[in-house]
């Protein structure tokens, strides 16, 4: 049994569970058990493989689907970057899924809710694993289809209005993505990430220029990924979308969807589109830096100005994405490692805050800060969980957010991007302010005057148990990321190295034989082209 072939299980397990879930439409309890088992299996697999790969010198597992050799078939690659993200996303999905048992509308639950969550994770896992630009597009589409369904589960007017905008925007993004992928294929003749990286690094090694239009192409793709990742000018869709759907689903989206966009930038830009000191890099890097500053700072200003818990948290997603873009804009191995560490801790912590927000909403019947209060006495456990998660987000030293921010901001000083670092520090302070706002209004203030304890909004504690389990799971993961930051950061650093110096990735995916053949074929076609030019006049 070869280990490589089994990385495909990250895709097969959620898809299989989703397919079975289609048939189990009415049997909600079996569907729930199966769904939990599926997420448990993928999390265990991801963590197991990560631990296994720590002692492996190459640290990359590659499987060629259908046994078609690499640049022609579709490669599935499990390296440190995908591994960490798969582990974090599976755990987040598990927690949000369990949490949804106490928030989901029972009618909606019988309308393919369970298969849709599984298919969403099918798309997310495929995006993290794939080694091919077109397949990345396919996985985005799978993910988006499932997210359209999950967004509109209530079928209310408000949800439909929001979903309409979201669908339209993503259709535009997807169209641009396909056009971009087509242009990449036209310019380079390949869509495989490793082959593309080889193409770029070979050209740079020989001192040749990249094909004309490569810089414009990379900006088009940056636009697509930035739209999914909600970076500076492209974030407008995010706050309202997260506001209208079910709170557990909002937690899942906050953890996953933007991060997939950022992952796509992290996977393609350091290796291919902005590798070395190409023309494209000269345009892309300042763009990323400026966008990081605006995303961080304007995002947090938006969060401070809002007065609903869920809106504050949603706008905060944007601000936190800014830190990741900051790491990407520096593009050194340490900064990329910091970006990755920040990504996984943000997935966990932000989803945890949304899950807490779901419990608060159940307690008070609203998420308006003015109308809620006194929760510290009513639900001390929730207050503790919320406090730990909020302080992790802010980045208080022993907690997880600190390490990500520390690495990125220090690297900013070292790379003489001090102005970005100052923005990062300012944003951190304002993050503290907005979190304290929720804390003081919602938990610390004396009981809000408007909580009428009618039977309608009385909390049903027995059915809230799954919600507490979900939030607890995530807060435990967040604490582990804080106190056990060392091993996680080591894996993240390895991922940063693999991204900054893609030779290992290229070797693992293509293999020495294919690389040699490709080099020979390219030299021959170049010779033919020059011969043709000599003949024509």
């Amino acid at each position: 049994m070869e280990l490589e072939n089994f990385i495909i299980l990250f895709i097969v397990i959620p898809m299989g569970t989703g397919v079975i879930g289609v048939l189990l439409k009415q049997r909600v309890h079996i569907a729930r058990v199966l769904g939990v088992l599926s997420f448990l299996a993928t999390s265990a697999l991801a963590i197991g493989l990560l631990v296994h790969l720590r002692s492996d010198p190459a640290g990359i597992l590659v499987s060629q689907m259908g046994a078609w050799p690499a640049p022609f078939g579709i490669s599935v690659v499990f390296d440190s970057l995908s591994g960490l993200l798969l582990a974090a996303s599976s755990l987040v999905a598990l927690a949000c899924y369990v949490h949804s048992f106490s928030t989901v509308d029972p009618v909606a639950e019988k309308r393919y809710f369970h298969p849709m969550v599984q298919l969403l994770m099918f798309g997310v896992n495929l995006a993290f694993l794939t080694g091919d630009l077109f397949n990345l597009f396919v996985s985005f589409e799978i993910m988006l289809m499932a997210s359209y369904c999950l967004l509109t589960f209530g079928g209310t007017r408000l949800q439909m209005t929001q979903a309409y905008k979201y669908v339209l925007l993503n259709l535009v993004g997807s169209t641009l993505f396909v056009i971009g992928a087509g242009l990449v294929y036209g310019m380079t003749g390949t869509l495989n990430f490793a082959d593309l990286a080889l193409f770029v690094s070979e050209r740079q090694a020989r001192g040749e220029a990249l094909p004309p239009g490569f810089a414009a192409l990379s900006i088009a793709l940056l636009l697509v990924f930035g739209l999914k990742g909600a970076i500076f000018p492209l974030w407008f869709w995010l706050p309202d979308t997260y506001y209208t759907c079910n709170v557990s689903i909002a937690g899942l989206f906050a953890g996953m969807l933007t991060k997939v966009g950022i992952y796509a930038i992290a996977r393609t830009f350091p290796m291919i589109f902005a590798h070395g000191h190409s023309d494209a890099a000269k345009v892309v890097m300042p763009l990323l830096a400026i966008s990081a500053a605006f995303t961080m700072f304007l995002g947090v200003l938006g969060a401070v100005s809002h007065h609903n818990i869920r809106r504050i948290l949603a706008v905060h997603v944007i601000s936190q994405v800014g830190y990741m873009v900051f790491g990407l804009a520096l593009m050194t191995r340490v900064a990329l490692a910091g970006c990755l560490f920040y990504m996984i801790q943000h997935m966990v912590v932000k989803s945890c805050l949304f899950l807490c927000c779901g419990i608060v909403e159940r307690h008070t019947g609203t998420d308006d800060l003015d109308k809620s209060g006194g929760l510290l006495k009513r639900d001390t456990y929730l207050a503790v969980v919320f406090f730990i998660a909020a302080m992790s987000l802010v980045g208080l030293p022993p907690l997880s957010g600190f390490f990500g921010k520390l690495v990125i901001i220090r690297e900013g000083w070292r790379e003489s991007m001090w102005w970005l670092s100052i923005f990062g520090l300012l944003t951190g302070a304002l993050t503290l302010l907005s979190m304290l706002k929720i804390w003081s209004y919602c938990f610390w203030s004396p009981s809000g005057e408007s909580i009428e304890r009618t039977p309608a909004n009385m909390p049903n504690t027995s059915s809230l148990r799954p919600a507490y389990i979900g939030a607890t799971l995530l807060v435990c993961v967040a604490l582990f990321l804080g106190f056990g930051a060392q091993p996680v950061y080591e894996i993240a650093y390895r991922a940063g190295e693999q991204l900054a110096a893609p030779e290992a990735y290229i070797q693992a995916v293509l293999g020495p034989e294919v690389i040699e053949n490709l080099a020979r074929a390219r030299a021959e076609s170049a010779a033919l082209a020059t011969a043709a030019v000599e003949v024509t006049p």
């Binding site: 049994m1 072939n5 299980l9 097969v12 397919v19 289609v22 499987s63």
Partner: protein
Amino acid sequence: MTISSPVLRNSMRLILPLMLLYALYAMLKGHNEPGGGFIGGMIMATAICTYRMSHGFAAQLRLMPVHPRVLIFLGLGLALGTSTVPLLLGEPFLRSAVGVFHLPFSGHAFHYASAMAFDLGVMLVVVGVGVGMITQLSEELE
């Protein structure tokens, strides 16, 4: 939505078997040439929906006596199943078994690939989705 037109009713009786047969042909041909499970499924779904237009919903139920959901389940299950079996044999995902088998009496060589089962799955999904959507929409019209 049923259209009561004798021309459509009678011509559909002739066209339906041809369309179904052509759908199968397009699916099988797709292994090496243009065609395949998706387009075969589209043709089949079109045939079933047109039949519903000319003969009514009861006739469609006689032709396809299962809920579209079951077809989607079977199709996805078949596609996932055929692509997962290679894992158990130590081969990569989606690996296809290819070979030639000789027909018992005439001895004709018959090329087969296990990828065909995958294509059949795609076809079932497309038929399920196509017929399911049209049924839902026309129920709303009625």
